[in-house]
Point group: C2
Chain length 240, copies 2
């Protein structure tokens, strides 16, 4: 059996669900392609086989599955597997893995995990949909849209014109390009939060507002590609 | 200390994070205003005080906090506390609780949980953002927008015109009213999933497509207000 398990930040066992924890404990082999897996989680695999690091390519992962059909294998995914898994042209996303499992008649299950958006909201006590604000939440990744050649400025404009709460995954490189759109539609007091390495020792959560951002040339240099950006309108609804 | 804890479906301990589980176990008092809390979770409070049911009003909750300042109190919230907590004019949302805690100098923390969207995706092996599709996910609640007198048909239209993956919380009563908008913008093969009572014994996940829905007079009568509706475009991107 293959389990695709969401592991939240990847650095804290306490962020795993009990089901995810038990699945990791009961697996024979653990796979995490990349470096965002910490010691606490690695310890769960002390007496098992674990494959991790940037050199664990999708081809290698397929070989591990192929050579261990009788084993319980756990493929770990940062955050929740349903949102922005994989890396274009580098690591398969969840959907590509599932297609491959179906083609090759593998048994698999998917175990949900905390998204970085949920983790960030909890750390900052943020209610994405309070009764005093819009109930609209828009989540996207500008870099992935670019990678897939389907970024559409006009489309983004018509969405942002409705001023939803905005969660941007993997969008940092493009942030300066959409800043003017944000300024056009959101009030200058709109809160903008950059969150990087949540729940890791180098966690950085930087809160600012659109007005300040607009007066700064570029704020993005101190952050990396994995930064989550939350744009949170401060407008209070006037209930009629 | 007050902990606001996301409990996922509210019926399965295995859906709790380890931190949420430990917080429930270590609390003196548990509060869940409503009925969507199952036996497995109630058992965690066997030797403690628990307040649950529809008669646990926000006023009663404030009194419990007030009369137990020295205790560890756990306020449980379905799904993830950041998304669609509370019920308009009936139960306070997260943000209202937090404002009240701040006003009265209470210590509190927020512990994230699995949203019903994450739980549904895992059950149906759905990747919300595969490389073959748009990376845009739009989450809203039409009924809450109506309650707050800020539902705007034109705004919704401009968002749906971009064909995002659409997750509708608390929107069932309004679904028939927006069906024509969906038909206008999404391909007829677009998958529509109605999910009710996820992880409860009466769990119901009904999959259909827009074309079938459009040929049916009303499909919503078998579902309740808490139904999550996922609109998942089947269009495959042609990567240029």
């Amino acid at each position: 059996m293959i389990s695709i398990v969401g592991i939240g930040s990847g650095n804290r066992v306490e962020e795993l669900t009990i089901k995810a924890y038990n699945t990791l404990k009961n697996s024979d082999i653990g796979i995490y392609p990349g470096n965002f897996i910490g010691e606490e989680l690695k310890e769960l695999f002390e007496d098992k086989t674990m494959f991790t690091g940037r050199d664990i390519t999708s081809e290698k992962i397929k070989n591990i599955f192929h050579n261990n059909r009788d084993k319980n294998i756990c493929l770990m995914v940062s955050g929740d597997p349903a949102l922005y898994s994989g890396q274009f042209n580098t690591n398969l996303c969840l959907d590509e893995h599932i297609k491959w499992f179906n083609e090759h008649n593998y048994n698999y299950e998917m175990i949900p995990g905390l998204s970085s958006l949920s983790i960030l909201c909890a750390k900052k006590s943020i209610d994405l949909t309070p009764f005093s604000k819009t109930q609209n939440v828009f989540i996207t990744s500008i870099e992935r849209l670019r990678d897939l050649k389907c970024f559409n400025y006009t489309e983004l404009k018509s969405i942002l014109s409705t001023k939803p709460v905005l969660a941007l995954y993997q969008s940092l490189k493009e942030f300066d390009n959409i800043k003017s759109l944000l300024m056009e539609f959101y009030p200058p007091t709109t809160k903008v939060i950059f969150a990087q390495s949540l729940s890791w020792s180098n966690e950085c959560i930087f809160e600012t507002d659109l007005k300040t951002l607009n007066e700064t040339e570029s704020t993005t240099s101190q952050f990396n590609d994995q930064t989550l950006i939350l744009v949170y309108p401060s407008t209070i609804l006037t209930i009629k």
